[in-house]
Every structure is written in structure tokens, then in C-alpha cells.
Amino acid sequence: MSPAELVAIPYTWVLALSAVLFAIGTMGVLLRRNGIAIFLSLEIMLNSANLAFAAFAFRLAAGHGTAGEALAGQIFIFFVIAVAAAEAAVGLALYIALYRLKETIDVDRINILRW
């Protein structure tokens, strides 16, 4: 792998950022009652995961690994984005069906599926 030019950013910073974002997203998922909002928080969590991938790919690109390894991280992010798209499509469709059925997407009021 040809010597890559360094960027003046420690990859741990990126990791830290992803940690913070993940925490925020988790809070959103756990505390919001609006289904759509929960979904948005989920997207945030996905992005933070992507950021973690990016962080390590970033590190590998700086000569700690082969180009293939460094690339794998980016490709994984690509796939995560694709999956997120699919998930958004299906999930939102579910919300629409749900809304038709119960006139709400407040997840606390959608609790008939239990003993």
C-alpha cells in the first residue's frame, strides 16, 4: 500500500463522536413514544455505527493495514446505508398500515400483542 498522506485527526475522536451519537440515538429509541421519532433515532444509531466503521477504516488507511482492509470499512458503510434504506421503506409502510388500523403510531398504545 502506497504511503497515504495523514490527516490531522486522531481516529479516536471519530470513535468518541460515534459513541456520543449512539448514546443520543439510544435515548431517543428508549424515550420517545412517537413511532416515527423512534425510527429517526434508529437512523442516528445506524449513522453512529457507520461512523465507528469509518473511524477504524480511517486508521487502517493510515498505513496500519492493507488497502483492502481499509476499503472493507467503507464498503460496509455502503451496505449499512443500503440496508437502512430498505428498512426505512418497510418500516414506514408498516407505520402507514398501523395508522390505518389504529389511528395512531404511539407505540405505547400499540400493545395488544401480549398475554
Binding site: T26, V29, L30, L31, R33, I38, V107, D108, I110, N111, I112, L113, R114, W115
Partner: protein, 662 residues
């Protein structure tokens, strides 16, 4: 060269399959008849063609290999047929008698439903296929396939009237008892592979004959195991119990399977493997003893039975005993000869009895018969000729074969065969006594059934009638054969012309010469004429004839004329204990029931009640279900139906995981 060999069984198989299909399609009797009888007829034709070709070519053994059946590493089994004098004789008479009985069945079974008729003929053809396979097979596995096949067919046909559960029970009994024998046979096959590395007759027997000393012990072992199989299939003590019950099947079946062909498979197999027995005196002696004892034992039971087919069944058992006695004293050819003649007259007898039962509308108890001679002459005369044959009256077939066996037994005693001389004398005497009894109970049948006046009541008497030609024709043919068939083995040596004994010379090559003369007697036992002088042989002949005549006389005194039935009744009262003993067949079935069946039954009961019902069902199955239900009841409170709680628990799980992995 012998292209038609494979054709013989395959034709029958085709017939069987076709009949099954026809039965399923609900075809009429006519079609089924054409297919069923036609296929067997064609097979018979093919058999005779093969025989004719065989007689017109030099080689004494012809082996045809068709394809490799099993191939596992070094050891392979070919599906191959073998035609040598022995199988030639067997094939020809099996297919011929089988064909006759098929013809007979047309008339006998014509009252069945179409489906039943088709089923019957399908099974019958299948049986022919298996039997021919058994006879033609050129190695033990192929033979075993046929062996199992005939077992299966006998089971199916005994249970033909499966609506009556005693018939089904009889079928099961036959099958299960045969299994015991088959186990021995299987072990024999395995050990053959272990010892010789192959099961081809053309390889193992010469090998064994070449080095008798080396293979002596192996031969004893294998021979005894094989004989276990033979005991099962040929209904010898102690496994004979299934044969009398097998009479539950239709009479033609009894005639074909349980008299003429299948039950003689054991004899055929022993003769086929004669080399083993000849190089192992022990095995040979065991065969002789079992045979002799069975002969007399079954005959005594036959004395007092009243069911006509039962009597014939026991006589079959005892005749089989004679055959084994013959094999046991080294008279293998005589044994085969007796197989053939026995096939003729015993088939004739059964078919005759079948015709009688047919006339009496299913009545089998001889006490309800009598005087049938008037109504069914053909049946009577053929039956009579067969009876004379089995009783050993000269000129008739049975005489030659049985007398030769007895002579050989005596010769074995005189020649001190394998140094067991005295024992063989005893066996000879048993055989003689058996002959007396045979003559007696056979003529008892004749007198009780055909002579005197009818005891079955008026309305039964009205529809007494001679059977249709399809039934009488085979009767006639078999009757004639049982009259003259014996001349195939005319004891020429009595007149100093050995050449006259055709079958002896034809089959003798099967008895391979044993290399060293250490067992010379065995080799010589093939022709026993040096053991006893000519005069002594004549004496023996006269003795056996006299014995037979004596038996007939006693039967006449007991069951014919003014004071018929009086004397036997007195005897029965005087020796009531013995009478009961015989009437109840020595309580053998009860003994077996107590000793074998009951314990197994109790064991099964234990397995069912305790192991299955309690341990498995209650503890394991229901217990598991109960456990799952319990945990479910406890855990369901976690299922709040609120997504966020689930999400929270997932997050907690992640946290825990992270902490653990940290």
C-alpha cells in the same frame, strides 16, 4: 448359451406384478386366470426348454451371471443362476407341479371375489418366482433372497382369508417361526463369507472338498447353522409347529407350498451343501437324528387327528423327516428323489382333500364324511394311488424313494457310518416304525372319507358332487405320476443292473468327491450297495413292504366293515392318557406358549406399561411439556406488549455483554 434361464423366474414375476395391477384395476377372473396360469405355464415351458438344452450339452454345471448385485470393496455378489443336475431336477418338478396347482386353483378359487382371485394368483405367481429363484440361485445370498421370498408368500397365502383372525394368526406364526430358522441361515451365510471369502457354490464346495481336514470345524459350524435354517423352513422338530397351522390357507396353497415345494427347500439346501455335511460327521449325525425323530413323532400325532388337512400336514412333516434322515445317512440323492416323489403324491393328496372339502362345502372334519367314493370316483382313485404311494406299496412312487432311504439308513448302520453305527440302526428302526404308522393313518383317511356311509347329514349329502375338470385333470396327472413316477429311481442294484437307477446317475455328480478318503464312508454312502449284501437288501425291501401292508391291515380292521370305529374307541378309552397326549399334539404349542411366548409377552407388557407409557410418555413427553408451560407462565409477565420495554431489555443485554467482554 442357456439364454432362457433367467426367463423362468422373471416370467412368474411379471405375472405377479401384472396380476397385482389387474387386481387393483378390478379386472375379471378370466383375465387374471390367463395372466396367472399363462405366465407359470410359460415359465414351465421355459424350464423344460432349459432342461432339454442342458441335457444336450456336456458341461455338468452351467452358471449364468447377469449383473453385479452387491459390490463392497473386495467382496462382490453377482446376481447369477446355476443349472446343474440338482437344480435341473428341482426346477423341472417345481415348475411342473406349480403349473398343475395353478390350473387346479382355477376351479378351486372360482367362488372368490374378483379382487381376491387376482390377489391369490398374484401371490401364487410371486411364490413361483421366489421358489425358482431359490432353486436356481448360484450362491447363498441369491438363494436366501428366494428363501425369504417364499417365506413371505407363504405368510401372505396362509393369511389369505385375513378376515378370520385365526388365519392371520397362523400366517404370523409361520412367518415368525421361520424367522428363527432364517437367523441361523443368515449366520451361516456370514460365516461362509468369513471362511471362504465368497458364497458361490462353484467356489466354496470344491474348496471344502479339496481340504476336508482344514475346513472340518468350519463345516460343522456352518452345516449346523444351515440346518437350523432348514429346520425352520422344512418344519422339523422343534420348529415344525407352524406347518399344521399353515393349513389355514387355501388347500391348493397347502398343496403347493406346504407340501410339494417350499417345505422341501430345506432338504434342497442341505443336499446342495452336502459337502459340508459329508466332511463333518457331527452335522450329518444331527441331521439324521432330527430327521428320524421328526418322522416318527409327527406320524404319531397324525394317528388321531380328525381334520383331514391336519393329518396330511403331519404326514408332510414326517415325510420331510424321512428326507432329512436320508440326507443324514448320506443318501442325498435318495433324499432328493423322495422330495420329487413326495411332491407328486403329497400334492395329489392335498388336491384330493381339497376336492373333497370343496364337495363337502368347506367341511374338513373326517367324522362328517364317508362314502364319498360313490360321488367323486376320480378323486377317490387318484387319492388312493397317492395313498398307496405314500404308504410304500411297491410299483408306486413312494416305495422306491422311501425304501431307498431306509435301506441307506440300515446300510449306514451296518457300515458304521462315521463310527456311529448303532445310532443309525436306531434311526432305521424309527423310520420303519414311522412307515407302519404312515400306512395306517393314510388308509385311516381313505376309509373314513371315501368308504362306509356319509355321516354329514342329508342336506349336505345333496350337493355332494365331483369337482370340475380344471380340478380333476391335475388330480389325474398327479395320480398317474405318483403311480409311475418312482421308476425314475428304479433300484436296479437289486437286479444287479445299477444303470437302471436313472436319477442316481443323473444327480450323483452333485456329490463332489471328497479329496482324502479319511471320510471314505461318506463318499461311499453315496452308493450304499457294498455295505450290505444283496440278499439283505431284498430282505429289507420285504420287511418294509410287510410293514406297510400291516399298517393297511390295521387301518382296515379299525375303520372298515361292520365294527368300524369301535376298536379305536376302546383303545382310546384304555390308553386315554396317551390318546389325549396325541390328540393334543403333545401340548407342544402350549409348552412353547408357556416357555417362550408368555415371557416375551410379559416383557413387552413391561416395555409398554412401564417404559413407554410411564417413563417416556408421562415423564419425558408430558413432563417436558409441563415444564415448558410452567416456565411460560412465569416468563410471560416479561411480555408487556410495549415495544420500548423490549428495546430497553435489548439495550440492557448489550450493556451486560459489553461489561462481560470488557
Amino acid at each position: 448359451m442357456l439364454g432362457v434361464l433367467w426367463l423362468i423366474p422373471v416370467l412368474c414375476l411379471a405375472g405377479a406384478l401384472l396380476n397385482l395391477a389387474l387386481g387393483a384395476a378390478g379386472a375379471r377372473k378370466g383375465v387374471v386366470t390367463i395372466v396367472g396360469v399363462g405366465s407359470v405355464g410359460a415359465a414351465t415351458l421355459a424350464a423344460f426348454v432349459a432342461l432339454w438344452q442342458y441335457l444336450h450339452q456336456p458341461a455338468s454345471v452351467v452358471v449364468e451371471r447377469y449383473f453385479t448385485w452387491i459390490s463392497a470393496g473386495a467382496f462382490t455378489i453377482d446376481a447369477s443362476f446355476q443349472l446343474d443336475p440338482l437344480s435341473a431336477v428341482m426346477v423341472s418338478f417345481v415348475s411342473f407341479v406349480g403349473f398343475l396347482i395353478h390350473v387346479y386353483s382355477i376351479g378351486y378359487m372360482h367362488e372368490e371375489t374378483d379382487a381376491g382371485y387376482a390377489r391369490y394368483f398374484a401371490y401364487l405367481n410371486l411364490f413361483m418366482f421366489s421358489m425358482l429363484l431359490l432353486v436356481l440361485g448360484s450362491n447363498l445370498p441369491v438363494l436366501f433372497v428366494g428363501w425369504e421370498g417364499v417365506g413371505l408368500c407363504s405368510y401372505l397365502l396362509i393369511g389369505y382369508y385375513y378376515e378370520k383372525d385365526w388365519c392371520a394368526a397362523a400366517g404370523k406364526k409361520a412367518f415368525i417361526v421361520n424367522r428363527i430358522g432364517d437367523l441361523g441361515f443368515l449366520l451361516a451365510i456370514f460365516s461362509t463369507f468369513a471362511v471362504f471369502g465368497t458364497a458361490e457354490f462353484t467356489e466354496i464346495f470344491p474348496a471344502a472338498a479339496a481340504h476336508p481336514e482344514r475346513y472340518a470345524t468350519a463345516a460343522t459350524f456352518i452345516g449346523l447353522l444351515l440346518f437350523v435354517g432348514a429346520i425352520g423352513k422344512s418344519a422339523q422338530i422343534p420348529l415344525y409347529v407352524w406347518l399344521p397351522d399353515a393349513m389355514a390357507g387355501p388347500t391348493p396353497v397347502s398343496a403347493l407350498i406346504h407340501a410339494a415345494t417350499m417345505v422341501t427347500a430345506g432338504v434342497y439346501m442341505v443336499v446342495r451343501c452336502n459337502v459340508f455335511y459329508r466332511i463333518s460327521p457331527t452335522a450329518m449325525l444331527v441331521v439324521a437324528i432330527i430327521g428320524g425323530i421328526t418322522a416318527i413323532f409327527a406320524a404319531t400325532i397324525g394317528l388321531v387327528q380328525n381334520d383331514i388337512k391336519k393329518v396330511l400336514a403331519y404326514s408332510t412333516v414326517s415325510q420331510l423327516g424321512y428326507m432329512f434322515l436320508g440326507a443324514g445317512v448320506g443318501a442325498f440323492v435318495a433324499a432328493i428323489f423322495h422330495v420329487v416323489t413326495h411332491a407328486f403324491f403329497k400334492a395329489c393328496l392335498f388336491l384330493g382333500s381339497g376336492s373333497v372339502i370343496h364337495a363337502c362345502a368347506g367341511e374338513q372334519d373326517m367324522r362328517q364324511m364317508g362314502g364319498l367314493k360313490r360321488y367323486m370316483p376320480t378323486t377317490y382313485w387318484t387319492f388312493l394311488s397317492a395313498t398307496l404311494a405314500i404308504s410304500g406299496i411297491p410299483i408306486f412312487a413312494g416305495f422306491f424313494s422311501k425304501d431307498e432311504i431306509l435301506a441307506k439308513a440300515f446300510a449306514a448302520g451296518a457300515g458304521g457310518l462315521n463310527g456311529f453305527g448303532s445310532l443309525y440302526y436306531v434311526l432305521w428302526f424309527l423310520g420303519l416304525a414311522g412307515a407302519l404308522l404312515t400306512a395306517f393313518y393314510m388308509f385311516r383317511i381313505v376309509y373314513m372319507t371315501f368308504h362306509g356311509s356319509f355321516r354329514g347329514g342329508e342336506e349336505a349329502e345333496h350337493h355332494l358332487h365331483e369337482s370340475p375338470p380344471s380340478m380333476t385333470l391335475p388330480l389325474v396327472i398327479l395320480g398317474v405320476l405318483s403311480a409311475i413316477g418312482g421308476f425314475a429311481g428304479f433300484p436296479g442294484q437289486l437286479f444287479g443292473k445299477t444303470g437302471l437307477n436313472w436319477i442316481e446317475h443323473f444327480v450323483h455328480p452333485v456329490l463332489l468327491p471328497i479329496a482324502s478318503e479319511a471320510h471314505g464312508v461318506a463318499a461311499e454312502a453315496g452308493h450304499g450297495e457294498h455295505a450290505v449284501s444283496l440278499g439283505l437288501e431284498w430282505l429289507l425291501v420285504l420287511v418294509s413292504v410287510g410293514i406297510a401292508a400291516l399298517g393297511i391291515g390295521i387301518a382296515y380292521r379299525f375303520y372298515k366293515g361292520p365294527e368300524a370305529f369301535a376298536r379305536p374307541r376302546q383303545l382310546a378309552e384304555r390308553f386315554s392318557l396317551a390318546y389325549k397326549l396325541l390328540l393334543n399334539k403333545y401340548w407342544v404349542d402350549e409348552i412353547y406358549d408357556a416357555l417362550v411366548i408368555k415371557p416375551i409377552y410379559w416383557f413387552c407388557l413391561f416395555c409398554w406399561r412401564i417404559i413407554d407409557v410411564f417413563i417416556i410418555d408421562t415423564v419425558f413427553v408430558n413432563g417436558t411439556a409441563f415444564l415448558v408451560e410452567l416456565t411460560g407462565d412465569l416468563l410471560r409477565f416479561l411480555q408487556t406488549g410495549n415495544v420500548r420495554n423490549y428495546a430497553l431489555s435489548v439495550a440492557l443485554g448489550i450493556l451486560a455483554l459489553a461489561v462481560i467482554l470488557w
